[in-house]
């Protein structure tokens, strides 16, 4: 087992290096530069823009810039944002709480809906409940979040005037009122994202359950006279959850990476909106850092999933 983990870890390092190299090259070759706005500003002489480029090392050859970035990163220096001239790690840490709170809540909501609905639907396939759940799931993941987001805003903010649609990191209240306000402003984004996630996850849980429910050992369990609830929870669900757990583990990076569209619609100052505004401003160090963190998380959770698999099914780690 430990050898298996070690092997997996060693594979992770070159993949991260590879990912960072690809990211760096793609960003370096992407059009535009962070000082593009200066070209239309008559007050800024072209020499200044050129001097800034030189100062921030943008005129160095790509490989040099990459090596520079890599060695800085190895020392824990994430670089600084060209646009706000602020350290990238501060910038990301500033954005992380909102992302974790909103996207994390959405994931929890998705799980709370998907598992019971998926399980129940699988126990009674093609029943009325199953069909309604399926239809709703299909509708759910066919509707993009930018559509449902605006729909929610129109219904709950504009028409009913119940909820605010601008997420504020600066709520002027304390104690319980602060908590209530935090919840109130997160309802819409969490619902939009959570329902979208729940829709696809429900389908996944249902099919994982159906795969297991038909196996012989389940029939045996029933034949032994175990109650329906016990069979489902103890025998079916436990096994059906293996792929579901993997799926959830692999979705974890998304919780950290934010949801670009939803964050944009509700003005949530999260990682997703940081990424999109940095891309638009060609703020390479920030884009590089965010995408690289994202890549690290994907690799990490892949590793966790692999280890989890190895633990759940020892045949995998032995080979």
């Amino acid at each position: 087992m430990s050898q298996y983990v070690l092997r997996r870890l060693l594979i992770a390092i070159p993949s991260l290096l590879g990912i960072s190299l690809v990211l760096f090259i793609v960003l370096a070759m992407a059009p535009g530069d962070p000082f593009s706005e200066l070209t239309t500003n008559p007050n800024v002489p072209p020499e200044v823009a050129a001097a800034l480029r030189a100062k921030f090392g943008m005129d160095d050859p790509i490989y040099l810039r990459y090596l520079h970035w890599l060695s800085a990163m190895a020392h824990g220096d994430w670089g600084f944002s060209f646009v706000s001239r602020m350290d990238v790690d501060t910038l990301i840490l500033q954005r992380l709480p909102a992302t974790l709170y909103v996207i994390g809540s959405a994931q929890i909501l998705a799980l709370l809906i998907a598992i019971p609905v998926g399980v129940y639907a699988a126990t009674k396939p093609y029943s009325l409940f199953d069909q309604i759940a399926n239809t709703l799931a299909f509708v759910g993941f066919s509707l993009p979040t930018f559509f449902t987001g605006i729909l929610f805003i129109l219904i709950f903010s504009v028409t009913l005037d119940w909820l605010p649609f601008v997420y504020s990191t600066d709520i002027k209240a304390t104690g319980i009122r602060w908590v209530l306000e935090m919840i109130r402003q997160a309802i819409m984004p969490v619902a939009v994202l959570g329902l979208f996630q729940a829709a696809s996850m429900t389908r996944f849980v249902r099919s994982a359950m159906l795969d297991v429910i038909r196996l012989d050992y389940v029939t045996t369990a029933r034949a032994k006279g175990l109650g329906q609830a016990k069979v489902i929870v103890k025998h079916v669900m436990r096994n059906a959850m293996i792929p579901v757990v993997t799926l959830i583990a692999l979705q974890m990076p998304a919780v950290f990476g934010g949801a670009i569209v939803t964050e944009q619609i509700f003005r949530i100052p999260g990682i997703g909106s940081l990424l999109i505004s940095s891309i638009l401003a060609n703020d390479t160090p920030v884009v590089m850092a965010v995408t690289f963190v994202f890549a690290c998380l994907v690799v990490l959770f892949n590793l966790i999933a692999d280890v989890l698999y190895g633990w759940l099914d020892p045949r995998i780690s032995l080979r």
């Binding site: 059009p31 008559p42 200044v48 706000s84 602020m86 601008v166 003005r267 100052p269 505004s277």
Partner: protein, 596 residues
């Protein structure tokens, strides 16, 4: 041409026979912006007017919270590093200049004690220096006094190339001297008709010497106060999250009486213009939203029964179509649109004339810009109705067709005109932007009717407006026949704006397309006119020269002006916000209040 008339008008104002306002209106009619008109008066010996304040509250504070929604939030808070107006707006919440511009283009005092004029000895008659008196008793937010040293320091800081300040263009050719603690003199290296650039307006707000002195030059990025401003403004800094939030609270020691009105200030960033308009106009969650680039129908719909309204400010921004004077399709020495080529179609003036007749500015206004646009015949637009007596515009497919017929461009079998084997086929590019793309469609339709085939192209704005040498789709490269966009007029003076089109500014491979003359139009008369205007101290002659420069651009159809665009903001119905087309949105914030 106008010399005598102007001169006698100035004398009339000086003699009290003519109202200052009337003078400015007349100047606007000949294409001069109000600030320039005011400066002309000042140089003609009439003291510059101070913008009248409309501020009513009789005590400081008590106004509650002011919530501003900027759909692109500020990303840094040092005016010297500000890229774009969002950063200037954010910095200006805390930092202040010596003076700013009011909606009429008059100067409004902020940190200065009086407006320099020839009468008060502030303005040198030869235009080579200006002396500013500072308001006494002004304190930085940390309690230190604001003095002439701070002003001089800002010049040293910004003009040092190692600082990489984006304001260097304003400061590098001047010298700032301290006369005494409350007096500074700016010395120009040549007569400078527009003397109110340095230290005036949001881009030139002043930062404190005692906090930035150690971070001049190469260490400029490391200053901790780059992110936590200590200014002199009406609000004190509390918190900053780049791109998301800027917060401030009332400054109890503010140097203007009864100001500010609001107790706290919040500027939220992010999102898009439409939802910003909705949050201000429809639901009233926020008090003010900036730069609302939303179609007029949408705004009108939101305004119905809403809690806010759209507010307009007139500046000098012009949306135009530029024509390429070189050939974008022929490569010479590895360079397209090379100066060694001539545009095969536009070298015939008839084609350019015909094109300008095919841009239906009225339809563009009606269908797209609505209240936010005005039709115009001029490249250089003033704050009020710009009606240069020398230029007119017209939309006529018949006239365009006739011009082309007369010039020998005959429709071919496919209905597209041709002459000497050259077909009238044009590539027309712009940045990806709803109103621009709709305008393209309107122009294309008219061209088709006149037998000109137009292919439309739109490029992502981040690429189009970039200086990326490797990308063929940037506007300075101009690898198309026509292109449409707007160059913001950032200063209430035409000098910088008009200088762009002199011959030495042509964008070429040699200067890495950093030149600003992207139509690559070369005209000796224009060069001479600009040259003369810049050296011309006589304000009257100078004015006439810039009008002539504008007319040259229009006569030669280098530009086809499409719309004179106004600034559009969204504001709560009861918010008294003072917005100037010549200033940043937050420039007059100290005068904002809420009507009970």
């Amino acid at each position: 041409m106008l010399d005598k008339e102007l001169r006698s008008m100035i004398d009339k104002v000086a003699g009290g026979k003519m109202d200052r306002r009337a003078f400015i209106q007349r100047m606007a009619a000949i294409g001069l912006t109000a600030p320039v008109a005011n400066q002309i008066l000042a140089l003609g010996g009439v003291a510059m007017a101070e913008g009248a304040s409309t501020y009513k509250p009789t005590k400081r504070g008590g106004g509650g919270a002011l919530k501003l929604l900027w759909w692109q939030g500020p990303t840094l808070l040092n005016p010297h590093f500000a890229t774009g107006t969002k950063d200037q707006d954010g910095s200006r919440l805390f930092y202040e200049p010596l003076a700013c511009w009011d909606p009429d283009g008059n100067m409004k005092l902020v940190l200065a004690a009086e407006i320099p004029s020839i009468q008060n000895g502030g303005l040198a008659a030869d235009g080579k220096s200006v002396t500013w008196k500072l308001k006494p008793g002004v304190k930085w937010h940390d309690g230190k006094p604001f003095t002439a040293d701070d002003v001089v320091f800002n010049w040293e800081y910004a003009s040092d190339p190692a600082t990489s300040a984006l304001t260097i263009g304003t400061f590098r050719d001047i010298v700032v001297e301290k006369i005494d603690d409350l007096t500074v003199r700016i010395v120009f290296n040549k007569p400078t008709p527009f003397w109110a650039d340095a230290f005036v307006g949001a881009p030139n707000a002043i930062i404190p010497k005692h906090l930035f002195a150690d971070y001049k030059g190469a260490k400029s990025r490391e200053a901790p106060n780059n992110l936590s401003p200590v200014g002199t403004g009406p609000y004190k800094f509390v918190e900053f999250k780049p791109g998301d939030l800027v917060r401030g609270v009332l400054n109890p020691d503010y140097h203007m009486p009864n100001r500010p009105y609001f107790d706290t200030l919040e500027m939220k960033g992010g999102g898009d213009a439409v939802s910003a308009a909705r949050a201000v106009i429809q639901t009233g969650e926020y008090d003010f939203g900036y730069n609302i680039q939303v179609e007029d129908d949408v705004l009108l719909r939101l305004e119905k029964g809403g809690k806010g309204k759209a507010v307009y400010a007139v500046g000098g921004d012009t949306e135009f179509v530029a024509l390429n004077f070189t050939d974008p399709n022929t490569e010479v020495d590895g360079e397209r649109s090379s100066m060694k080529t001539k545009h095969p179609l536009f070298s015939d003036p008839a084609v350019r004339k015909a094109l300008s007749l095919l841009v239906d500015r009225e339809s563009v206004k009606k269908a797209i810009y609505g209240r936010a646009g005005r039709t115009t015949a001029n490249f250089l637009n003033g704050p009020e109705k710009f009606v240069s007596k020398n230029t007119t515009w017209e939309f006529s497919i018949e006239k365009a067709s006739k011009i082309l017929d007369d010039a020998g461009w005959k429709p071919g079998a496919d209905g597209i005109r041709e002459k000497d084997g050259k077909k009238l086929k044009l590539l027309y590019q712009t940045s990806i932007n709803g109103p621009r793309q709709k305008t393209q469609a309107i122009v294309k339709q008219a061209c088709q009717k006149a037998g000109i085939d137009v292919e439309l192209k739109s490029v992502v704005a981040t690429v189009f407006f970039s200086s990326d040498v490797g990308n063929p789709d940037t506007y300075p490269k101009f690898y198309a026949d026509m292109e449409m966009f707007q160059i913001p007029m950032s200063q209430p003076d035409p000098a910088q704006h008009m200088r762009r089109y002199i011959s030495s500014e042509v964008a070429t491979k040699e200067n890495k397309w950093q030149g600003r003359n992207f139509p690559r139009w070369v005209n000796k008369e224009y060069d001479a006119t600009i040259e003369a205007a810049e050296g011309e101290m006589d304000p009257v002659k100078r004015a006439a020269l810039y009008i002539k420069a504008n007319d040259l651009l229009i006569q030669d159809v280098v530009f086809i002006p499409v719309q004179h665009r106004l600034k559009v903001e969204a504001a709560a119905n009861n918010l008294q916000c003072i917005i100037s087309g010549w200033a940043n949105e937050t420039d007059n914030l100290f005068d904002w209040y809420r009507e009970a």
